[in-house]
């Protein structure tokens, strides 16, 4: 079956510029919302999953939803730190960090609204366990001091976090001596300091969590059952990456479900717009349709020509919508992560997968909107079409 030249479909969009602009514009907005939602979810995952190393483990109290709610007694922490699977560093030190994690409420720049920030007191090997972190300005805090180093996102968004300034909590003043860059991971939203100092300050007897590097990633299968069945301990052992992935689940689900539901609802609106436009196109061009059929073009090629027109509209909408969504990569979101109950900064991430998914979505809209009018065009009887012209 020979097709009607594609130029016929595409050029017809150009003749009715206002209608094409409005219809494609509606579809562009829907593609924008769809892509932006997926990008937000991808950005959330990138921030959180990038936080975890595959060969690190996180040990928390059993059933604690996050490190802040968790408590690991000193004795228990010592048991964890003595496990054979834990890697050993260049100087012979065990790569394990017993950490204290709390939240402090600090005012945000601009709005002054107090927001929870994660403060992490590291053990001596804490820095080594996070190779993605490097110092951006100033230096790391000195162990045994009341110095703190803040994540890049915290320095940007919160008052009183510049080099030389101090934050007051736990009845002490903590001086900011540096800003670190954690490559967009969750650590960018944290403040780091010396763990033992913080324990003293907060009068705590128990750590929040124990982080350790495994000598080999497979050894996870050995250490996990052993620690979890040890009668002295009541702990959960997770791979760091899995731990942080779980931290994002609530928010991720919310974003995905709400966002995709909205996209579907919006797409109905855009699809209706496309249907109205295509019905009008068919009605205006019945004479042409009759002539094409008289010349010998089949019903199928008429159908395809109008479907092509609807798809071209959708493609136009997709291009504009995706371009707008791509701009969102410049926007940074900071909000409360419901699971950790603390500030988390992340961004919109455009992946090739999202580009394809949004293309498919736009195409589906175009097809859904165009199929009924195209069928009407194809079903016209030649004499009726010519007479109505």
């Amino acid at each position: 079956m020979k097709a009607i030249p594609f130029a016929y479909s595409v050029r017809n969009l150009w003749t009715r510029k206002l209608t094409t602009a409005l219809t494609a514009g509606g579809m562009a907005l829907v593609v924008f919302v769809f892509a932006a939602v997926l990008m937000l979810d991808a950005g959330l995952h990138q921030a959180l999953v990038a936080t975890g190393q595959y060969d690190n483990i996180v040990v928390t109290r059993r059933a604690a939803g996050n490190e802040v709610q968790s408590g690991v007694e000193r004795a228990q922490a010592a048991v964890v730190a003595s496990q054979p699977e834990i890697a050993v560093g260049p100087a012979g030190e065990a790569l394990v960090s017993k950490e204290t994690v709390v939240l402090i409420a600090q005012p945000k720049r601009g709005s002054g609204v107090p927001t929870n920030i994660t403060v992490r007191g590291l053990g001596p090997a804490g820095r080594a366990l996070r190779p993605q972190v490097r110092v951006a300005s100033g230096r790391m805090f000195r162990p045994g001091s009341t110095e703190i180093t803040v994540g890049r996102s915290i320095a940007q968004r919160f008052e009183g976090t510049e080099l030389g300034q101090s934050l007051r909590f736990g009845a002490r003043d903590w001086t900011v001596v540096g800003v670190f860059d954690a490559a967009g991971s969750g650590f960018d939203s944290e403040i780091w300091g010396d763990g033992e100092q913080m324990m003293q300050s907060f009068r705590r007897q128990a750590y929040s969590s124990v982080i350790a590097r495994l000598a080999a990633p497979e050894q996870f299968e050995l250490i996990k059952p052993r620690l979890e069945s040890d009668p002295r301990l009541t702990v959960d052992v997770k791979r760091e990456r899995v731990f942080y992935e779980e931290q994002s689940q609530m928010m991720s689900n919310f974003i995905r479900i709400l966002g995709l539901t909205l996209s579907v609802i919006f797409s109905i609106g855009a699809m209706i717009g496309a249907m109205i436009t295509m019905y009008a196109a068919v009605a205006n061009r019945t004479g042409e349709i009759g002539a094409l059929r008289a010349l010998g073009f089949r019903r199928g090629s008429i159908l395809l020509a109008f479907l092509a027109e609807a798809l071209a509209l959708a493609a136009l909408g997709w291009t504009v919508g995706l371009a707008l969504a791509a701009l969102m990569q410049l926007v940074h979101i900071s909000t409360l992560n419901w699971q950790s109950f603390a500030e988390l900064a992340f961004s919109f991430a455009l992946t090739p997968q999202i580009v394809l998914q949004s293309l498919g979505f736009a195409a589906a809209m175009g097809l859904a909107g165009g199929v009924l009018p195209a069928l009407r065009a194809a079903r016209l009887r030649i004499v009726d079409a010519l007479r109505a012209a």
């Binding site: 130029a7 016929y8 003749t15 004479g287 009759g290 002539a291 094409l292 010349l295 010998g296 030649i382």
Partner: protein
């Protein structure tokens, strides 16, 4: 006796309008020879356009047979009929029915898209056809940039590009001024005399009817003949 190009045998057609059955053509029988230039005339609603549609293969009769060059087109099902039209019939409509978004060249090459010719070959043929109708300098113009007469000539170029044996024309001069109508009719005449195309033309226009070799009158779905080839040669002799 050579085989007539068109053989209409006992053809009838009626339409359903709002629950009622309206008869349009009643038991029509006639022949058209190769190389004829036939005019169909009659009052409004006499069924002449309907008859033209049946001969052109864009509608099917309720009863009877239609043999075009030996093929009974009433037996062809839709896709076969479409293919047949593509190779055998050229259309000229009152309102030209060109695609406004395609240039003159692209409009003319449309019927060739249904063949297996390459793009280049199509373009060559289309350019030649436009040259034939005197519009070689307008190949890249859109219909909106052409006058009524020029548009109709583009339509004629489109009608002859597949070298069909039969050309059907439905009121080809209906929307044209006197000068353009004259040009179009001269063109049709040339196609008939020089290229041997058989033409069946529905018209109200007396001037157009004069150009035909023979006229058939339709009234209330039945026909009567008036004038034949004879008349034309007499006129030629007088000219």
């Amino acid at each position: 006796m050579t085989l007539p190009l068109i053989s209409v045998r006992g053809v009838s057609k009626s339409y359903r309008r709002g629950g009622q059955v309206v008869p349009v053509l009643h038991d029509i029988t006639f022949d058209v020879q190769r190389g004829d230039f036939l005019g169909l005339m009659g009052p409004s609603g006499s069924g002449k356009s309907t008859l033209l549609n049946l001969i052109a293969g864009i509608d099917k009769p309720d009863a009877g047979e239609l043999l075009i060059d030996g093929v009974d087109i009433t037996r062809l099902e839709e896709t076969a009929l479409a293919d047949w039209r593509a190779g055998s019939v050229g259309f000229v409509f009152q309102f030209y029915n060109l695609m406004p978004v395609l240039t003159a060249l692209e409009n003319v090459e449309l019927p060739l898209v249904l063949t297996s010719l390459s793009r280049q070959e199509r373009r060559v043929h289309a350019t030649a056809a436009l040259g034939l109708v005197g519009l070689a300098d307008r190949v890249a113009h859109y219909p909106s940039e052409l006058s009524g007469g020029q548009q109709q000539r583009v339509a004629i170029a489109r009608a002859i590009i597949t070298d069909p044996k039969l050309i059907v024309a439905d009121e080809p001069t209906g929307d044209l001024d006197r000068h353009s109508a004259e040009e179009v009719l001269t063109l049709l005449d040339r196609l008939n005399v020089e290229l041997g195309k058989t033409i069946v033309m529905v018209t109200h226009d007396r001037r157009a009817a004069d150009r035909a070799h023979a006229i058939m009158y339709l009234d209330k779905g039945e026909l009567s003949r008036a004038g034949d080839i004879h008349e034309r040669s007499v006129r030629e002799a007088r000219a």
